[in-house]
Amino acid sequence: MKADRLEIVHEWSLYLVVLLPVLPLIGTTVLPYAAAALFFAALMASWFTHRAGLGRKIPERLWNVAVLSFVGLGVLRVVFTDTDLLDTVVQLLLILTIVKLFGRWSVRDELQVFVLSLITLAAATTLTDQLVFGAAFSAYVLAGTFALAVFHLRNEVQQRPKISFRGIPTLNRSYALVLAGMSAVVLAASLLVFFAFPRIGLGFFAPKTRDALQMTGFSESVELGNHGVIRDNPAVVIRVEFDERPKDTTNMHWRMMSFDNYDGHSWSRTLNSKQNSLPRVEGDDSRRVSGLSTRQSQQSLAQVFDGSGKISHLQVYLEPLGTTLLPTLWTSESIRLGSESISVPFGPRSGRVERDKYGDIHHTVADQVGLIYQLWAWETPGTMPVDTAPDAFLQLPPLSERFQPFADSIAPGAQEPALIAEGIKSYLQQNYTYTTDLPQVGVSPIESFLFETRRGHCEYFATSATILLRARGVPARIVNGFLGGSWNSVGSFLAVRQGDAHTWVEYFDANRGWVMIDPTPASLLEPPNAAVDAARQYYDAMKLFWTKWIIEYDLNSQLDVFRRLATSFKTPGTSQDTKSEDDPDGQPVPWGPWVLALASLALAWLFASSMLKNRRDVRWLALGVVLIAIAAAATGWAIFEVTTATAAAASALVGAGLAWIRRPRVSSIDQAWFIVERAAKAAGIQRQSDEGPEHFLDRLALAVPTQSAAIGTFQSRYLAARFGANSTQSDIIEAAERLAKSISAHAKTGRQ
């Protein structure tokens, strides 16, 4: 490679380094597609103007004016619109990068381009945590290392005195290979440092809470009557790892939320349900030291579900859903938040599991974060054993006269709830068709479905079955959740997608409790294209790896890795579960530190002999040996300590203090909600714990009719900001405050 080719390599690598941190930002609020196109156009223009030497012809004053104008505009946007400050800062970084690329005439200019690209990458970490960032980051490490080395080489060639060179300096193939190899080493070392660097977040200025960047969304209401095509949303919401691959995953029902009240169009919850914490599993093996458990408790679901057969263990990774409802497999035996590792119960990821009167399972962790938890599930699902069912589960919407005779005509003569339920299920499955292409329905969607269209999706089948059961005097309810999922053979896990959202039925049998039936017939939808499916599987597997080992990698995971490392040093045959003669308490003998110490001493000896052989300075030899000895002792001590409960207890004590500092902060949207909720409560309209925001605000509008329009506006804004794509939230607090004032004024007038 000749010297001019060194220049070309440098040019390409510099542009690559600029481009890579920008890729994860495309399509975000920082860089919408149009802005991204402009950025790339500017990038290309700078390439050609620089090569043609035209950059100097652009007056510097023009750049200054452009940058200052953008800064002024940015300030105005931040102050007067809902533009995020960070977005504006990153946009400014991109503008500066472009300006520098146009006007780079010295090493210092190019150095500034490198610095800007690094800052952009750092900023991107706060704006996205998607897999594309991981890909861009890996590419950046490889390209950036190479680019930095080429940049150095080029500067040396340019800046060293000419007398130093005999002939043209070259960047030959072997040199380039060395640089490429070095990039790979840096990438590997980066990952090593990433996994080994202590994950102790101080949280002095910001909480360690990951926002729900990708709110996959789970609807807390069921509304019928819409028509059109339901799209199969491939976004994965739940990933499940099994100890043993299950034989059949298609019939797995991931239960989330049940409803009692149907008004003819939509389902809601009317029971004022209080959530109760679930008891610990008897003999829970979470370690306890000085009253502080070192991982979160395994909580029993015996009060909720029963079942039979073998119990299998599942590790569940839940994407942020924007709800505290926890998907539980029908039927599960127990549950534990966190992974199968030492888990310190503090910080934003800590919490407990509770149940409400419907038997729905909730968690108390901030609902905007993704969650990891474990389930122990029965091999043969059972029921939800309860003694009675409230009358609310017999409520019927206004129906036409022909409905009751129709209900009575299905499974005529059957008296047992199970026989009636089976009869209805068979009838619906045999006489009705599943479709995602919803036809137009009449005033009563259910009656249109049953008597006219005879086509619909799971909500129609489940609602119809529930209403028919109720009409026959059997308490019943619909349940929202997910069904099945697809097995990812690449990552060996079950991927449940948003498109797997499903609704089914639970009916009450006085002898068995709530029994699940699924009246929806099998879908006749075509399976996805094999190539697309394979690509999806690879993508999902990578995403699980990314979530599990990068995004969710925390102190707990780190301690677990160290613990496993230490365990690998243990004497064969000793384990935590078996007691040995050496260790009557069942604690493993910590051979790890000793092995490590011996290895370190061997290293010290090698170092010393190498130094002596090379006749190096004895003082440095001594210092080196002492340092290695200290390092060995410290490492041994650290490994020993983290394997004992003492370290975990100390971590817990420190963490408990930090928990307060790192408590989850309330977003402005939540804040707005709380303002309205508080005002409503003060006015005597209290939100029920099982009541969704939409239903609550509807009820509030009815209770405060003078403000129904304002409440309606707030409702649409809140729902759009909270669950929709429109995250506009600049003046939502002000709107909430105005509304709260009006509600208070209305309440005061009412009292007078």
Binding site: A124, H152, L153, N155, R166, I550
Partner: protein
């Protein structure tokens, strides 16, 4: 009291706390370190794993940089040959570097970073690159430039590379080149790491030769000139010979050197003239600062005169305190100029011995030192007072 040349250590002394490798931050290194600290702080504060990932990359770059730069300089040994030179002029040198390791060393610089003036006006003062501790990131880590350096992109495993270098001193004197080092900024240019190489070397830097037509007119007018043709310094070409250490680099015949692949110098015809004695007085009671400046100027004018005298074939004897270079000594020009390189103006009373017979005498020195000199000598005063 100033140390004698022999009392200076051959290598730059190293304290117990000085590490075996010297590390300084470059400008990109400063940016990078600052960003690493900022990212580290942000990662620890927020617990954002992606920032930890970035921090991992930056720490890895620093670590890999340290390991590779060590690998680059570890096996390098080198020696250099430096010609005697003149202050303010480039002094050519050759550095021979050998890579004793089993892998190639990339982007290597060999440099004499610092020298100590052991004689001459700067005696006791270091010259060259002044380096500050890496922790002083608020200032330039390297102040000044190395005295001489050579750079190569690659030295193969086990190979020896000859590198051309250029040295430069601004002031006459005798310098001890005691910090010969192998330096690298490989692989990313974030840090500059250097390893000291053994091999202290003394280098004489002659004073600049300043032409003073008035002095030369007086000398040639007083002593006259005769000539004969011999090999030596003159205007006419006499022949070519190999360049030897200590010879004036300005006499290298570059075309012939390029053709032969080694430096050769041009010999010229020498014109033999009358023998002259130059007595340099360098003592005055409590020298003034202005006298020191005049002394430096006088030394340069005297060097110009001596160059002229040698050029015209005169035999020159110099007496400067205890230092005497006799007539006809081998390489007498260099030895005479070396006396001029090392002399300093000192506090005291100048004394003058009786003149040698048959030798014309020129007495040079500060104006105050020439007070009691006989009128038959030619006096060259380093100042404005009663010259001549």
């Amino acid at each position: 009291m100033t140390k004698l040349a022999a009392e200076w250590p051959q290598e730059k002394p190293r304290s117990w706390f000085d590490p075996p490798r010297r590390l300084t931050l470059t400008l990109p290194g400063k940016f990078f370190l600052g960003l690493t600290l900022a990212v580290g702080l942000a990662a620890i504060n927020t617990g954002n794993n992606l920032l930890f990932l970035l921090l991992g990359m930056m720490l890895s770059l620093i670590t890999v940089s340290g390991v590779l730069s060590e690998a680059v300089i570890k096996g390098i040994s080198a020696s250099r040959r430096v010609a005697t030179g003149v202050a303010g002029h480039a002094i050519p040198a050759q550095i021979s570097a050998t890579n004793g390791s089993n892998y190639a060393s990339l982007s290597v610089e060999l440099a004499d970073l610092e020298a100590m003036a052991i004689a001459g006006p700067l005696v006791g003062k270091p010259v060259g690159l002044k380096r500050h501790g890496w922790w002083k990131i608020w200032r330039n880590q390297n102040e000044g430039v190395p005295i001489g350096s050579a750079y190569t992109i690659r030295i193969d495993a086990g190979a020896t590379t000859e590198l051309d270098a250029s040295y430069e001193f601004q002031t006459r004197g005798i310098y001890r080149l005691w910090d010969f080092s192998v330096v690298t900024r490989f692989p990313f240019g974030l840090f500059e790491k250097s390893r000291h190489l053994a091999g202290g070397l003394d280098l004489i830097v002659f004073p600049r030769a300043k032409d003073d037509p008035e002095w030369q007119a007086r000398i040639f007018g007083h002593f006259g000139d005769t000539s004969s043709n011999r090999s030596g310094q003159g205007d006419e070409f006499f022949g070519l010979k190999d360049f030897r250490e200590g010879e004036d680099a300005r006499r290298i015949h570059w075309k012939s050197a390029a053709r032969r692949g080694k430096p050769v110098v041009r010999e010229t015809e020498r014109q033999v003239h009358q023998a002259l004695e130059i007595v340099l007085l360098h003592h005055v009671p409590k020298p003034l600062k202005s006298e020191s400046l005049q002394f430096e100027d006088g030394i340069e004018r005297l060097a110009g005169l001596i160059e002229r005298l040698f050029h015209t074939g005169h035999a020159v004897r110099i007496v400067c305190g205890n230092q005497i270079v006799e007539l006809g000594e081998e390489r007498s020009r260099e030895r005479v100029l070396a006396v001029l390189a090392a002399v300093t103006l000192e506090d005291g009373i100048a004394t003058l011995a009786d003149p040698s017979p048959k030798v014309g005498r020129i007495v040079a020195g500060p104006a105050r030192a020439l007070g009691n000199v006989r009128s038959s000598d030619v006096l060259l005063s380093f100042g404005d007072l009663h010259e001549g």
